[in-house]
Every structure is written in structure tokens, then in C-alpha cells.
Amino acid sequence: MKHTIKELEDIASQIRRDIVRMVHGCQSGHPGASLGCTDFFTALYFEVMNHKTDFTMEGAGEDLFFLSNGHISPVWYSTLAHAGYFDKSELATFRKLDSRLQGHPTTHEHLPGIRVASGSLGQGLSVAIGAALAKKLNGDKSIIFALLGDGELQEGQNWEAAMFAPFNKVDHLIASVDYNGQQIDGPTSKVLALDDLQAKFEAFGWHVINTDGNDMQSIVEGLHYAKTLTGKGKPILNLMSTQMGAGVDYMMGTHKWHGTAPNDEQLAAALAQLPETLGDY
């Protein structure tokens, strides 16, 4: 372990503070699933992935991460900043004119850490598979990580990719699903039920593991375990249960905060629950 669980939790607390402040600062953006995935991002960038903050597009010899559900950009931006990809002061520009921190992540403004645009849903798993194939051709045994939203799995392209990866033995790929059960119009169970995702991915040929995405111990151990499963002929799917809005009590357990910004009082109430551990931007 590079960090103790407590240290990782402290980093996550700061990232959660950043998320609500960023979304409040521009009065737009997606706090719900950003907060829900904060522990995952913290574990990935501060514990699990082999990566360099001296960014190159190719990332030769490094593990790479692809975010398919690009709307949770606040958590990624804050994570990248605290990991050292760029100065955290830039977080204040989120969603504002002339910023590298666009509403949805993009390579267009050359923000270090981003390798493809995402936002229009359902495309990230395919891109991650392509990056994995290129690594294989290059003799680079590094791991490709991807994160997908659960509602996003309603997009058909995911299932094209889900069919492709096991058949082609793309086995240095660890895709995680943010299984929070919520989407814009309500619970996924009401909008278009995902039902037994484990059985579905296993039927496609994936090795599926389950983690609690809001328990740092569970997510760190789960991702380390997933790494031991790479190179064995199957892609790995981490079915990660999370709570949308995790860490801010009034944002939890509802889809209401998918894409809504807190007002001043709500911001204060959120920050009171999230200790400042690394210094606000």
C-alpha cells in the first residue's frame, strides 16, 4: 500500500469538497455521481494505477484510465489536480469560458490526463478496448482501466464492446460500473431496468467481481484483486455499488442531484460534512 486507508479517505474528503465547490462555482455540473465515484477515483489514482503525472498521450509503460460517463468530470478533474497533473487553482475555472476544464472531459484544450473526449454516452468502453489492443501490439503489459455509468449501459454500443472484449481475449482491461441505480429521469429500475448485470456480463464472457464503491477498503482491495486477474484470457468487470451523492447527506439516495448545483446554504451544509484535508483550491 502506498497510502493507508485513512490517508486515502482524507484525500477523498478533499476531492468531495472540490466537487461541490466547483459545481457551486459555475452553478452547473453533475455532483451526484461525482461524489458517488470519489472513493473509486482516489483509490485508482493514489493507490492502484501505475501512472505518471508527466503526461504523454501515449502513456507508454503506464496504466491508462478512460471515463465513459464524462459528466462526472468534477471528480476526475479534482483527482487529476491533487495527483499532480495540473495546479489545483485551475479547478476554479470549471465550466467557465476559456477553461481547459470543459463541462465534459476533452482532449481539445489539452488538459493533462485526458486522452479522449467523453460525454455523449456509451463510447468509452470501445475506446478503452482500442487502447488495450494498441498496448498489446506494442508489447506493453500495462493495464487499461475504464469507468462506465450504470444508466449508460442502456446505450447499445456498450454491448458491442462487451461482446468484443472477451472474444478477442482483451485481458488487461478492468472496467468498472458505477452501479448507483439512478439516472436523470429516476431510478434505473423504473426507467429501463438493468437487472442482473453480473449475469449479463458473465454471459458475455467477462470475469465479474463485486465491490462497495463507497468503502475505501473494499474498493482498494477489489481493484488490487482485479489486477491479479489480468492476463488470464478474460476482461474484468468490477460491479461497484455506490450511492449517488455519497458524503453529502441530503444528496444521497435520490437522482435529484444528478445534474443540479447546490445554492449557498446547501454548499455550506455540504462543506460542513466534508473536512478540508489538503487545502481548498
Partner: protein
């Protein structure tokens, strides 16, 4: 009228296949992907020599575009292959976000474009793809005119860094360009110098324009014929220089007149040098089943249609 002859007819898709094979030999980073149309795209030679650099994705074009975008991150130069309809309309958003907006070095190679796909009918005969692709910021759009030019274009785009749409077709047509030509992206080819009218043609319509030029010569009309193989970026300079001399223009393409080469030329001329223009193109319509020759005749894409358009546009000159 300069004399153009040919000794054989070949399909432009075979030019793509040959060019891909050559590009693969020259650069080990060239990779190819196909969505269950290897034979139609003439990818066999590449696959035979570089099996590990070929990815069969099955009938899943969206996934193919995404995988291609991802492969560029590892320094690969992916050439995706399927029919033009499935290369563009079906995957527009994947191209827009994962390729164009992300500025990925993907070569979208599209066969069976236009009416000359023939008997399969309108579901497969896309006449809107040039418009779709040229609207994407940063996308290069190329529609070569014969086997040799397609082969040269395929090799040239492998050397170019950035997203490219390469459009070619199914039928065998005369091979009349230089087999050793150097293909320069964005550079028009002067097919015939003339003084009375500028005929600007792309793709399969270039040979039709040459046939039209011969008929026009018999009628005493001296046509300048320009091959625009690169629709974007457009060779503004070549077009303006010619039109300044001739004072009228006819554009020819196997594509809807809405959104095609003709509109690109009209945009240029209306801002730089307002000039009478006629369009030889399909007119806001879908195609239908038939032989390529029957369809080109029915939808007004033959040499005779170019001749008529020239006569009309010359009559509009002040």
C-alpha cells in the same frame, strides 16, 4: 481537349485495398479494422501479410470507430473499413466525439458510396456522406476518381496526421490517372485546360466529365476540367483561378446537391467571386435498386447531363 485513354477498368475499392497493403508495408503502425466486409473492402492482401495488425470487429460499426480512436492513443494509424453508409450516418456521433473532437488519427475508409452501389438499393446508397463528414471540424474529406488515384490517396493519408474520411466505390470504371502519381491532399488536379467553362468533378464523375468535355469540344465549347479529389480542405486557389478565366462553373458529384462538393464551391465563389453555377448531383432524393449505369442515367449523373448543365450555365454568363 486533352485525350484520355484507358486500357483497363477497375474498381476504386481495389485501389484502396492496394494502397492499404502498401501503406502497411511502409509503416508498421498502420492497422486495419473491418465490420464484416473484408472482401468488399479488398483488405485481403493487408490481412494476409499483417494478420496481427488487423481487427475484425463484426457487425458493430460504433464499436469499430471507438476501438480505432483508442488505438491511436498507442501510436497506431487505424484504417476502418465498411460501406460508406455504415461509415458515416450510422456512426456519426462516434466519429464526432471519439475521433473528430478528440483529434484522433483515424482514417475512415468508405466503400460502396453513392448510387453506383447498385442493386442493394437506397438503404445502402448513401448520398449524404460528404456533407456529414465535411461539417465536422478538422475532418479531411477525400473522394478519388479511379483505381490509381485511390491507391495513391490511401498511401498519402497514412502519412497525414489527423482524421480523414476517404470515400470510394464499387463499380469498375476506367483507370486513366498516372499509376505513379504523387497524391497531395488538398491540391486540385488540372484534367484539361479550357476557356469557356470550368467543370469541377469528384469521384466517379471525373471520367463522366472527361466524356462530357469531348462532346463539348465537338460543339465548339472549350471546357476546363478540374478534379477536386479533396473536398475539404478545398483548393480555393485553383478554383478561383479557373473561374476568373472561364466565368462560369458546373460541379459534378455522385452525392446530394445539398451538402456536397457543389455547395462547397458555391460557398467559396459567393464570398470571393460570385459566378453562375450549375449542379450535377442528385436532387434531395434517395436512390433505388438498379444497375449502376441505369441509376446514373435516371438520376441525372451522366456525361449528357454535364453537357446540358454547361450549355445552361454558359447562357447565364453576363
Amino acid at each position: 481537349m486533352k485525350k484520355y485513354t484507358y486500357t483497363e477498368k477497375k474498381d476504386t475499392r481495389s485501389g484502396f485495398g492496394a494502397g492499404l497493403h502498401e501503406a502497411g508495408k511502409k509503416n508498421e503502425n498502420v492497422v486495419a479494422l473491418c465490420a464484416d466486409l473484408v472482401g468488399s473492402l479488398k483488405m485481403d492482401a493487408f490481412i494476409k501479410d499483417f494478420p496481427e495488425r488487423f481487427t475484425q470487429v463484426g457487425i458493430a460499426e460504433a464499436n469499430m470507430i471507438g476501438i480505432a480512436a483508442g488505438m491511436t492513443i498507442g501510436g497506431k494509424i487505424p484504417f476502418t473499413g465498411t460501406f460508406a453508409n455504415f461509415s458515416t450516418g450510422r456512426v456519426y456521433d462516434q466519429i464526432r466525439q471519439s475521433v473528430a473532437y478528440s483529434n484522433k488519427n483515424v482514417k475512415i475508409c468508405a466503400s460502396h458510396a453513392g448510387l453506383t452501389l447498385g442493386e442493394d438499393g437506397a438503404t445502402h446508397q448513401i448520398l449524404e456522406d460528404i456533407g456529414l463528414m465535411k461539417m465536422l471540424p478538422g475532418m479531411v474529406v477525400i473522394n478519388p476518381c479511379d483505381y490509381n488515384q485511390t491507391k495513391a490517396a490511401t498511401m498519402a493519408i497514412a502519412e497525414y496526421e489527423g482524421p480523414v474520411y476517404l470515400r470510394f466505390g464499387r463499380p469498375v470504371i476506367p483507370v486513366f490517372t498516372d499509376p505513379d502519381q504523387k497524391f497531395e491532399i488538398g491540391k486540385a488536379w488540372m484534367v484539361n485546360e479550357g476557356t469557356d467553362v470550368t467543370i469541377i468533378a469528384t469521384g466517379h464523375m471525373v471520367w463522366k466529365a472527361i466524356e462530357a468535355g469531348e462532346k463539348l469540344a465537338e460543339l465548339g465549347i472549350d471546357a476546363e476540367i478540374i478534379n477536386i479529389h479533396t473536398i475539404k480542405p478545398l483548393d480555393d486557389e485553383a478554383i478561383l483561378k479557373s473561374v476568373k478565366k472561364t466565368g462560369c462553373v458546373v460541379t459534378c458529384e455522385e452525392h446530394n446537391k445539398f451538402g456536397g462538393l457543389g455547395e462547397s464551391v458555391a460557398r467559396l465563389l459567393t464570398t470571393e467571386l460570385p459566378t453562375p453555377q450549375e449542379f450535377v448531383a442528385t436532387n434531395d432524393t434517395f436512390g433505388e435498386s438498379g444497375t449502376p449505369d441505369q441509376l446514373m442515367a435516371k438520376y441525372g449523373l451522366d456525361a449528357v447531363n454535364i453537357v446540358e448543365a454547361v450549355q445552361k450555365v454558359i447562357g447565364r454568363k453576363k
